[in-house]
Symmetry: C2
Subunit: 277 residues, 2 copies
């Protein structure tokens, strides 16, 4: 049963997934979108696979109440561990960020040596390595968890000496591995592109899954005929403004500041919801 | 209705509260204890007051199922924002870490100038300032959030150059305030005592609430006649071993390593539970 009128649903552990939404909105400006940030239980990247899968199912159930036609799992950790379960349990098309990032990395590398950085749980799941090898089995991959990158971004220490020192410590081991491509396997990391590029050197291509994910979403919608007919004007002549709703499970202090860091625009109207009542 | 046979319940957002439990076990070795670490939803220190109160109520309800005679809220953030609500809603005696830390700080200071470091939510609640002024209204206090200290401890970067740089940045503003006492207002911070003392200088006394909290628990139990009669031997002549149970809501990777960092002993038998079913 196709439903080409429903919105696109997208969830993340917090607001890092806004970077993915931003790319989706650029590519598909007429789509309705619902964003859910599970800010009351973040981060996911330090939690067990079992817990992340449980949270992902709850997030998906919430978005399905709004009759979404496609789900984007914008969180790398959730994509890494919960996608098979979600695809088994729910019948709508589901796009994660890992496969998109893996394809982009395979396309970008010249020497077949790809590094991956991400949260503890993402790296220990080996999800990127599996996805890269399923595209191109001969690739060499090496993973490195960078647990302090997320708190550093949330603290706003972006172009910063301390962040540079942390990056040097985490990325040092990768520099000896002759990689020419590095996957930024967490939605927070693109904000540290400057620092990461400085440490890795200009010879290493950084892969940000957000843009590639938006490309994949566009393809899936077209393939499944789920694109809404493009109707910028209603019958009455007014411009149809696509629906954009933002749900979060917690609104902490400093939220506004962090929000604009990720979406590149000021805090929109958000709706605070309880996933579990 | 007194219940002097029940265990002491203690909860924290994670396993940082084990430092409090450790002091309680030293002072009250014959008490039965139940520890609950809400590892599936940590950290609390970056979440809103509303969410932290909700979690604190759920944690308390869980422990009350085991007929606890006294509750210790070992998390500074939870103590800072949820104690009044918990005391209104539940009838057992409840001990937080803030009041104990405040009393110790007032006792320690000579010039009446006290600094407080903690999470974002703890510092913005002003709970320590209020508690210190309720003991001694003329005190001067100054608070400073240190959001990166918790992830640094969890990463294990304890005696570390990067941690020293972070401490210098956070504590710099406090050094100009002529404080002679600094409250370590988060259960993770005592692990950074070395670095913090180095930055603040030997003239500043560091206050760790854990020991003071254990003193308060002992006093409350005695005052309310809730101490179990000390019976190290059962009638049969065997030594009565006090019950110690550990509940957590998630068991992430690297858990064992972090556990022993806080309790000073190897991972005991833990029970993974779901607070919300």
């Amino acid at each position: 049963m196709t439903n080409n009128k429903g919105p696109i649903g997208i969830f993340d552990s917090g607001i890092g997934g806004l970077t993915v939404l931003k790319e989706v909105l650029k590519m598909l400006p007429s789509e309705d979108t619902l964003y859910l940030g599970d800010t009351a239980r973040l981060p996911y990247g330090t939690k067990s696979e079992e817990t992340v899968i449980k949270y992902s199912i709850e997030n998906t159930r919430f978005l399905l109440k709004y009759n979404i036609k496609l789900l984007i799992v914008a969180c790398n950790t959730a994509s890494a561990v919960s996608l098979p379960v979600l695809r088994k349990q729910f019948s709508i098309p589901i796009v994660g960020v890992i496969e998109a990032g893996a394809r982009a990395a395979v396309r970008a590398t010249k020497n077949g040596k790809v590094g991956i950085i991400g949260t503890d749980t993402t790296i220990s799941s080996s999800a990127y390595t599996k996805a890269i090898k399923s595209v191109s089995p001969d690739m060499d991959t090496v993973g490195q968890p960078c647990p302090l990158f997320v708190p550093l971004v949330e603290e706003g220490w972006i172009d910063d000496d301390i962040t540079l020192s942390v990056a040097e410590r985490y990325l040092g081991p990768l520099k000896n591995k002759d990689i020419d491509t590095l996957v930024l396997g967490c939605t927070h990391y693109p904000l540290l592109k400057g620092v990461i590029q400085k440490v890795m050197g200009s010879g290493v291509t950084l892969i940000d899954s957000a843009e590639e994910t938006a490309v994949e979403v566009t393809e899936v919608l077209m393939r499944m005929n789920l694109n809404p007919p493009y109707t910028p004007f209603s019958k009455g002549g007014e411009v149809n403004v696509p629906v954009r709703r933002f749900f979060v499970t917690d609104v902490p202090r400093r939220f506004e500041e962090q929000w604009s860091r990720f979406l590149g625009e000021k805090l929109s109207k958000i709706e605070k919801i309880d996933l579990i009542l």
